[in-house]
């Protein structure tokens, strides 16, 4: 599937292949997405067994979920069959690090604190999911970190670092908050690319898809000839599952899902190490959403970039992401591996959120969701912002804001006084 890459790109790919951890190299050698669909073995992983429907008489078994997938499929880390092959994430994997980042809207006493003391770490070849309700500050966080935030947004503290792995620049660390405009322009797109929230309508309605690719490649890859640019555009488009003959089309001739794929292809055009997707599938249908996610995961496996995936759909993230951070009212309240977060949430908000998604199997019983309504950042309650909706709120929660602290080892953090050791942890938060 990988066609003619220009020299620069081939080199970059080589670097990746040689430095990639074993697990990822293996998936790279594995079949690409469409091929994977055909070579599926008929073995089902145990977790999926209960979902197998009865074969219906009178036709082939329609048991969709009885098909498992080989390595290289969408698997959460702890369930990855090749778990042992994957080295534990070391600092060497880090490509993008956000430390103690705070972002305000406006200045001085009237400022709205949209993000407070957020820490995130993106590692190569891994998907970090950022979940949270509307207005919790997810977009603000990533736009602020990449300094794309518009007026009146202001970064009011923290640091953001990019650990460059481009050939010839290995080990170079870029401090995004100190970078000049020129430096930022150079990094954006070629090292960090962001697919904005309203990306569905971001394509210029009067230019063709081809000229969108052309513009990007022309700006960042001066040495490319017109012909190679066109070849590269065709290749990128094929990579995201759109026929290359659609290059001549205008955006309105494409469906929403296709437009979103074009945006993804554009974001990947310069082989960035960090890809940030802000709700890339929210406006799309479930089927289209799944197609795009399958494609993204396939691309991630093949190209090895680090991905930050923002969505409010936690159940989707659990299937997609390796690690998940949950935001509430401008703060990250819990961070853990995807399956850990699903099986043993520690923060009452995460627990409530997980219980807000009706299950697809088993008995249907009445569920309650989370009482109250999502917070207004302009009037965040004192102490823990979740306190007014929290079933376990204590006196302390009203006066002090809990910090994000490691719980069971480094890999699980939560910001909740229930886990401070002073009180008995409720059963459902101690699983």
């Amino acid at each position: 599937m990988t066609g003619v890459w220009d020299d620069d790109v081939v080199e970059a790919a080589d670097v990746r292949a040689s430095s990639a951890p074993a697990g990822i190299t293996e998936t790279q050698d594995g079949p690409g997405m469409p091929a994977a669909l055909e070579t599926v073995p008929e073995t089902a992983p145990e977790t999926a067994l209960e979902t197998v429907p009865e074969p219906v008489p009178g036709g082939p078994a329609l048991a969709v979920s009885s098909r498992g997938r080989d390595k290289g499929a969408v698997v959460t880390p702890s369930e990855r069959p090749g778990e042992a092959l994957l080295p534990a994430p070391s600092e060497d994997d880090a490509v993008f690090e956000i430390c103690d980042l705070s972002i305000d809207y406006g200045l001085g006493p009237g400022a709205l604190h949209a993000v407070r003391h957020a820490d995130l770490m993106l590692r190569r070849g891994r998907v970090l999911g950022l979940a949270g309700e509307s207005g919790s500050g997810k977009s603000t966080l990533v736009y602020g970190a990449t300094r794309l935030l518009r007026q009146p947004g202001v970064v009011s503290g923290g640091s953001v670092r990019l650990y460059s792995r481009r050939r010839g620049e290995e080990g170079r660390v870029v401090d995004l908050l100190a970078a000049s405009e020129r430096e930022l322009r150079r990094i954006r797109w070629s090292e960090i690319s962001v697919v904005l929230q309203s990306a569905l309508n971001a394509l210029n309605p009067v230019s063709t898809i081809e000229s969108e690719f052309d513009d990007v490649l022309k700006a960042h890859r001066r040495e490319m000839s017109r012909k190679t640019r066109r070849e590269r555009a065709a290749e990128l488009l094929t990579m995201v599952g759109i026929n290359a003959d659609r290059l001549r089309d205008h955006p309105h001739e494409l469906s929403g899902g296709q437009r979103q794929r074009v945006m993804i292809a554009l974001a990947l055009a310069l082989e960035p190490q960090v890809v940030i997707m802000d709700e890339p599938t929210t406006a799309l249908d479930v089927v289209t959403q799944r197609e795009i996610i399958e494609e993204l995961i396939g691309l991630r496996d093949r190209l090895g970039f680090a991905m930050l995936f923002i969505t409010h759909d936690l159940s989707l993230l659990i299937e997609l992401a390796d690690e998940i951070a949950v935001m509430y009212a401008g703060r990250i309240v819990e961070r853990a591996g995807a399956s850990t977060l699903y099986r043993s949430p520690r923060h009452p908000y995460t627990h409530g959120l997980l219980n807000s998604f009706p299950p697809m199997h088993g008995e249907t019983r009445r569920m309650t969701g989370i009482p109250g309504s999502p917070p207004d950042l302009a009037a965040v309650p004192a102490g823990c912002a979740f306190r007014p909706r929290c079933l376990y709120a204590m006196e302390r929660c009203g006066t002090e804001a809990p910090a994000l602290v490691p719980l069971d080892g480094e890999e699980h953090e939560a910001a909740c006084f229930l886990h401070s050791g002073d009180v008995a942890v409720p059963g459902e938060l101690a699983r």
Partner: protein, 361 residues
């Protein structure tokens, strides 16, 4: 829920069809969007019927026809067993029985009016207020769990959250004392954490007030949670219907299967790969035969030419797919015969549809 009297259809649709015509270019050539084709549906008191389907499958158009906001191109409506004469006349009377709640709570409240106005109007129009108008408004707010009502009655829409607004929308619909409530994606614009609150409200309206409810969504998990039965729509047609858990546990139509495998489901450990790819057809020229055949992984020759009949898979479980008929019975004639036992409209509807689809280029 099982006694027969309560299962009498509050609202029944037979062969509802909506084709939008539009002019095409300078020569004024007319095109037709087959938004909804020959849909029959029964809404019984005290039940929630869910309709799931992709965007553009015609769910909203169907709901608007049921609410008589959109005039059907063909088909009939029966309210409490009585045939409804379609047209402008009697719209108001009909509105007092059948109410529709729209998807976007922020857009469906007039930004310049207070909550009070939104609730007083239906009470006035349909003379459903008690002796004390103010008290009736407060009662409505309490019914949708907005209490104390004093806190909400004088608010403007921008001062309320999405979930609260959607409750006001429900209160507005309930003000007329309807028997049928149609809810067009009532939770899709809401934050995840407050969706269940609104879903539970709908469930309570079914259980406590025995309303006949149509719940439209593309979230199949919420349909399973809330509804008694689920209909799956694809490209303007209902292609499968069954009791909620039957449909999600053992889908009989390849499209339903596709929907299910695409829906996020953390419990399954790892997502199953999609069985097929592709997009829904353009409704201006729907494909001949089964409308799903261009995407169907099991497509057969007959699927490409003849629309499949609704086949009874099990009691109360019906799917329009050729696979559901034994190989020997997959003949074009079956298209009109097999529909006999299941579709209330009788075979005529399907015969007509077949003729129509043959005439299409």
């Amino acid at each position: 829920m099982t006694d027969n009297a309560s299962l009498a259809p509050a609202l029944e649709a037979r062969g509802l069809t909506k084709h939008f015509t539009f002019r095409h270019g300078l020569l004024s050539r007319r095109g037709r969007v087959h938004a909804v084709d020959d849909v029959s549906l029964v809404l019984a008191a005290g039940t929630v019927t869910a309709i799931v389907g992709e965007s553009g499958s015609g769910k909203s158009v169907l709901a608007r026809m049921l609410a008589r906001i959109v005039m059907p191109s063909a088909g009939e409506l029966y309210l409490m067993g009585e045939k409804v004469v379609l047209g402008q006349k009697g719209r108001r009377q009909y509105a007092s029985e059948v109410q529709l709640v729209l998807q976007d709570p922020f857009a469906s409240m007039n930004p310049v009016h207070r909550v009070r106005h939104s609730l007083v109007r239906p009470l006035r129009i349909h003379h459903t207020a008690g002796p004390d108008l103010e008290e009736s408004v407060k009662d409505l707010l309490r019914r949708v769990a907005l209490s104390p009502p004093e806190r909400f009655i004088d608010k403007y829409p921008h001062e309320l959250s999405g979930g609260q607004l959607q409750r006001v929308s429900f209160a507005r619909a309930l003000a007329v004392h309807p028997h049928v409530l149609l809810a067009d994606e009532p939770v899709s614009m809401l934050d995840v954490s407050i969706r269940l609150g609104v879903l539970n409200l709908i469930g309570d309206l079914r259980d406590k007030e025995r309303l006949a409810i149509l719940y439209i969504t593309h979230d199949i998990a919420s349909a399973r949670y809330l509804a008694d039965s689920i209909c799956v729509m694809y490209a303007g047609e209902i292609i499968e219907r069954a009791a909620a858990s039957t449909l999600t546990d053992s889908p009989a139509h390849p499209y339903t299967e596709l929907l299910l495998s695409a829906a996020p489901d953390p419990a399954r450990g790892q997502p199953t790969p999609l069985p097929t790819r592709g997009a829904p057809p353009r409704l201006v020229a729907p494909p001949p035969g089964c409308r799903f055949h261009p995407r169907c992984p099991y497509v057969m020759e007959i699927c490409k030419t003849t629309p499949p009949p609704p086949v009874t898979v099990d009691a109360g479980h019906e799917a329009s797919c050729w696979l559901r008929l034994p190989a020997g019975e997959r003949r074009p004639e079956a298209s009109s015969q097999a529909s006999l036992p299941m579709v209330r409209g009788g075979p005529g509807l399907h015969a007509r549809k077949e003729v129509a689809s043959r005439n299409e280029p």
